[in-house]
């Protein structure tokens, strides 16, 4: 297969601003062009838009307002992992030779309709994500004797790390007590343990090796991709203390990259709620079942930014369609040694974990410099 990598990126600060989705998409593309002076509009063969927004025909719209006339233009929607799905689609176009460079732009508004999957009627009145997250939390805590005080560490770490991320939604420094004393949204979940839907945008340029060499001196390669969808409905899950689709996606991505979990230097994972972080670390194979919190605790005691350096979804905010792209940009910047105060020591391999709807669908990417 042809080598495919990331040539450029653009970011729009996460906020609670009331901006049209088209404007957010355009801002992300403008930022990408500013970050990549050698890029011309003629270089772009494909424009993919990742969002849950209800507007139609957003890729052609973004192309028109950016002055691009691509061969390929369409949207990608898959709830919270729309972004990484769009990157995989772009990868496929480039790897197959159908395109040399595909621009992927993700954007979301704070009032995104993507939080609720209306089709999933089996959840009854419990359609909001806090309910599946509460079930996960209850199950995980009980099975592995994990305490609220343990899970609060995820939020503590990610909020703290987000203070070093200039694009994050919030930059509050919360104590463990603040987190434990924050509003109980359910018996299992406190408000500060939940990621917050927000407004934001992120763009990335996926290119062939030939094109990448023309555009940048610091190419980052996509060496592993794993995806798995086990169902759409939450009640099809049989286990609530582990994430099957994430485990399969991670295994496949690591196999494709010929990489062992312990070789990973930096990881962005989908901490939609605090419990998702230890569960994802176990899915990736960095900890055995029920032991994911060990890695979170190590990160805090050694003050390294290896897990969720930009603050994760909990710290940085969660603009659904932009999240997977922003995660990928963070790993790209880390591997380029360009992550300022969030920089981990000389990373060579990084991983992105992005999932949707109670981990019924997961995407995992491995990047290398």
């Amino acid at each position: 297969m042809n080598k495919v990598g990331i040539a450029a990126f653009g970011l729009v600060k996460f906020s609670l601003e009331d901006k049209p989705v088209e404007s957010l998409l355009l801002h992300s593309v403008k930022s990408l062009f500013e970050n990549c002076p050698n890029l011309t509009k003629k270089d772009i063969d494909g424009v993919l838009v990742s969002t849950n927004h209800n507007s139609k025909y957003l890729s052609p719209i973004l192309s028109e307002i950016s002055g691009i006339e691509p061969k390929i233009a369409h949207s990608v929607e898959n709830l919270c992992n729309s972004g990484s799905n769009a990157i995989v689609s772009a990868y496929s176009y480039v790897a197959s030779g159908l395109a040399e460079s595909v621009l992927v732009s993700g954007a979301e508004r704070y009032d995104s309709p993507g939080k609720i999957l209306e089709w999933d009627k089996s959840r009854g009145e419990y359609s909001h994500p806090i309910y599946w997250a509460s079930i996960f939390t209850k199950s995980y805590k009980q099975k592995y004797a994990v305490k609220d005080e343990d899970l609060a560490l995820v939020s503590f770490k990610n909020h703290r790390q987000s203070r070093e991320n200039p694009n994050a939604l919030q930059s509050e420094d919360y104590t463990i007590e603040d987190i434990l004393n924050s509003k109980k949204v359910t018996e299992e979940l406190r408000l500060l343990e939940c990621s917050r839907s927000c407004t934001g945008g992120a763009a990335i340029l996926i290119s062939s090796e030939k094109k990448i060499r023309e555009l940048t001196d610091c190419p980052i390669w996509i060496t592993g991709i794993g995806q798995k969808t086990t169902s759409a409905g939450f009640t099809k899950n049989t286990l609530f203390s582990s994430m099957e689709s994430s485990t399969i996606a991670a295994r496949n991505a690591l196999t494709m990259a010929n990489c062992q979990p312990k070789e990973l230097d930096v990881i962005e994972l989908h901490d939609a709620f605090s419990v998702c972080e230890p569960m994802a670390l176990e899915s990736i194979g960095l900890a055995s079942e029920g032991k994911g919190m060990t890695i979170v605790k190590e990160g805090i005691s050694s003050n390294n930014f290896k897990i969720n350096p930009r603050g994760g979804l909990i710290g940085a905010g969660h603009p659904l369609g932009a999240t997977g792209i922003a995660q990928t940009i963070e790993i790209m910047q880390q591997l380029q040694h360009n992550a300022d105060s969030r920089q981990v020591d000389s990373p060579k391999k990084g991983l992105i974990h992005n999932m949707a709807a109670a981990s019924t669908s997961s995407t995992v990417l491995v990047l290398e410099n």
Binding site: E118, K121, S122, R123, G124, E125, Y126, S127, Y131, S134, I135, T137, K138, S139, V185, T186, E187, E188, G233, F234, T235, K236, F240
Partner: protein
């Protein structure tokens, strides 16, 4: 196949494949196993709690019925335990959302 009409009347129905007999939930036009035609039939009235959590003073549970049909609903009273037997006491549609309500069956000691 209009499950909504039945649920609106408070009647819990599920799908059944006319070809292979599989119970299909949520009911769709065809079976997810063999694409056989699906017809509606009365759903089970009881199930076992597979997991639960609590909001304010209210427990919400996932219950499993025959053939891995699972739904999520509210427990009307009592303290749930995993694997406990419950009865579907009410179901319906409010504001375009399904709802299910369960009560513990006292005979269901573990």
């Amino acid at each position: 196949m209009n499950i909504d009409k039945e649920l609106q009347k408070g009647h819990f129905v599920i799908g059944k494949c006319t070809k292979c007999g599989k119970k299909v939930w949520p009911p769709m036009d065809f079976c997810d196993e063999c694409f056989g035609e699906v017809i509606m039939e009365d759903g089970p009235q009881t199930g076992r709690i597979t997991e639960f959590a609590k909001k304010e003073n209210e427990y919400f549970c996932i219950i499993e019925m025959t053939e891995e049909i699972r739904i999520m609903g509210k427990l009307l009273s009592g303290t749930p335990k995993n694997n406990q037997l419950v009865k579907i006491t009410q179901c319906g549609i409010v504001e375009n959302n399904y709802f299910f309500e369960f009560s513990l069956l006292e005979s269901a000691n573990m």
